[in-house]
Every structure is written in structure tokens, then in C-alpha cells.
Symmetry: C2
Subunit: 202 residues, 2 copies
């Protein structure tokens, strides 16, 4: 099952190149696991589905520690039938059969409760798209039930859900939403935006 | 059918607030058609589906004319079954029955050929998600056939398609992709990133 993300980091600063290059060091521990390709719009990371969100967390937290208002966008995907399979995407853990929604929600909560703190507060919003022959709104509503008890739920917005909190449990919540909802071997995509140090008070 | 977008503008400049506030004037001609709500992560625009991409084009071109490296992200949606219907979203034109893919591709090409130029070159990449009971990969492959002859096709990337060209035909291409593919009354979402003035050469 092919899995990966197109990611982009946006520091709202004249020194955006320096901040991006400085933050990229945070990806070094992940480079052996990933195929990485960059162009002028985004960087592709392809690798095990469980490693995607930890890598994105470390990259974004490194940029946010510059103090500049930074945002981050990712188009995350697993199981796209238009992509060739790739051994680098082999899941690290055998997830077993998908199970009923209440069981998946409970496991997702446990994983978030075990996540370490980073000391960096962030806001995020995302949309999850379970594609193909799956009850897509059932999966989305199940995921929203999980999000509301994740500890980082902020509010529902049109077209997306907004989270707020420490980047540790927040990215763990995103990872659980991506891995546990939608068909187990099915096509699932996520549209994710993360923000830190915004001057806009909410 | 509810339609709208969560949009965000990212000028990579110390003066990001000034550039954003300056560009917002470009939305003034659209304000009567839209419901608009802003928070620290994005701005919601809800209105007729045919007006969404012209509004986003004018906003982004205004920001790009600052000369700063600017990017823009939108989560665009129509027909989401989780959103209440809203009279403000009434389509301006009766699209009629959806028709066969080759007919839709031909109409989309005609609309792009009629688009005016803005004088602003941009790069963009996007993913289109036809959700629910629809042959989603057939619609996606049909849309890709259209994109390849749109005049602004750059290349296929993992998880998305990249466009490059004048913002006029490029945003017209995005609008046609959004309006003409996926179920006519169905749930369709788009994850869109646009970039201008990048220092990265490609």
C-alpha cells in the first residue's frame, strides 16, 4: 500500500529560506526510511504510514521554534490505486483487521494519551477523505467522535475540523485519524494545515 | 448544494500582515455573493460554485503583485452531505445533466480557452476527491485527460497534478476540474496549493 505526503513549510519571514533550511535538519533521523523529492511547490516524502506524522511534527516544530509565524501544509495519502506499490511503504506494525468503529476509537485514544509533549503549541485544521467503496460519511463521523475526546479538539468548521494544543498529542491525533479511519487497505487522503505563532488572537 | 472554500494566503515576508490586508481589497467585488468568516488559520468563503475560483484568483494575484514569494492554500468543497444547504450557494448556471466524460472534457477546454490573461505567472498543484457512490478513479482519470490538454499542465506528481502558467487560464482550469468532474450533485473536494515568485528554480 503506497503511503506518503506532499509537504510544504511556509515561514512568514524575510528569512524564510534560512528557517526552512534550518528546520530540514529535523528530517535527518527519518531519511533512511523515506524517499524524499523536492521541487518549487512541495517536498514528497514516501515511507511507512506510521512514520509520516512524527516526521512532519519534528519538521514543523523545528521551524516554529524560530519564533516566526509559520504554517505547514500536507497532502497525505495511503492506498491510492493510481500509485504503484513500494516496499518502502510497508507498515511497521500489522494493524490486523480494521475492527468496529468503537474499538478503533478506543485504540486511537490510547495512542494519543501515550504521546510525549514537545512544548510547542500549534493550531491545525484538516479534512479526511475516505475514497472508493466505503461508507465515507460513517468513517468521517466515527473519526469526529474520536477527535472530540482527543484532548486537542478545538471546533468543527465548514469542510474541516480544527485542533489546538501541544504538537506532540496533536500530531499523534492526526496520525490516528489517518491510520484508523477509512478502509484498512483502502484509499484515504488528508488535507492538513498547521499554524504556529500567529499574530491573530482567537 | 453547499459550496465554498477554506482559504489561506501566505506571504513569505516580514510584512505578511500588510500584504494580506492589501490583497483582501480584491475580494470586495465578491462580498455581496459570499458569506465570509475569518479565524487565525483560514478564511471561509461560501457562495455560488462558479464564483469561488475567480475570487481566489483575484485575491492571489493581488498578493503576488507585491513581488514577495506568496503561496495560497484552499480546501474547496461542494455537495458535502454534512453541511446544510444554503441559498447563497445556488449555482449561477444550470449545468444540466452531467453528460459523458468526453463531452465534459470538451466543455471544460472551451471554458479555459475563453479565459482572460492576468499577466501573473503561477505554479499550482491540486488533488481532486470525488467522494461517495461514484467511480472516483474514472472521474479522476477523466479530469487528468482534460488537464493534459488545458495548456497549463506541468506534470503529474504523487498524489496531485501540477499546473503552471498565467493565473487566468490556470484558475479557469481549476474551476472546470472542480465543477465538471465527480457526481453532478455529488460530494467533491479539492486540496489546492498555488505559488508565485518562488526563489527555487525549476
Amino acid at each position: 500500500m503506497f503511503s506518503g505526503a506532499q509537504i510544504s513549510l511556509y515561514p512568514m519571514s524575510d528569512d524564510f529560506v534560512g528557517i526552512i533550511l534550518g528546520a530540514l535538519v529535523a528530517l535527518d533521523p527519518y531519511r533512511a526510511d523515506f524517499r524524499i523529492e523536492t521541487d518549487d511547490v512541495s517536498t514528497l516524502i514516501v515511507g511507512p504510514p506510521e512514520r509520516l506524522f512524527p516526521a512532519m511534527r519534528d519538521l514543523f516544530v523545528a521551524a516554529a521554534r524560530s519564533g516566526a509565524h509559520c504554517t505547514f501544509h500536507a497532502t497525505v495519502s495511503r492506498g491510492c490505486p493510481g500509485e504503484p506499490d513500494d516496499p518502502i511503504c510497508t507498515p511497521l506494525f500489522d494493524a490486523g483487521p480494521a475492527g468496529a468503529l468503537p474499538d478503533r476509537i478506543a485504540k486511537a485514544r490510547e495512542a494519543v494519551a501515550a504521546a510525549g509533549l514537545t512544548g510547542q503549541d500549534v493550531a491545525a485544521q484538516f479534512s479526511l477523505y475516505p475514497l472508493g467503496p466505503v461508507q465515507h460519511m460513517d468513517e468521517i463521523y466515527g473519526c469526529i467522535d474520536f477527535l472530540k475526546t482527543s484532548g486537542v479538539f478545538d471546533r468543527s468548521k465548514n469542510f474541516c475540523t480544527k485542533l489546538r494544543g501541544d504538537a506532540g498529542p496533536l500530531f499523534a491525533t492526526l496520525s490516528e485519524a489517518f491510520l484508523r479511519f477509512g478502509g484498512q487497505q483502502g484509499h484515504v487522503a488528508m488535507d492538513l494545515t498547521v499554524s504556529a505563532n500567529s499574530p491573530t488572537k482567537v
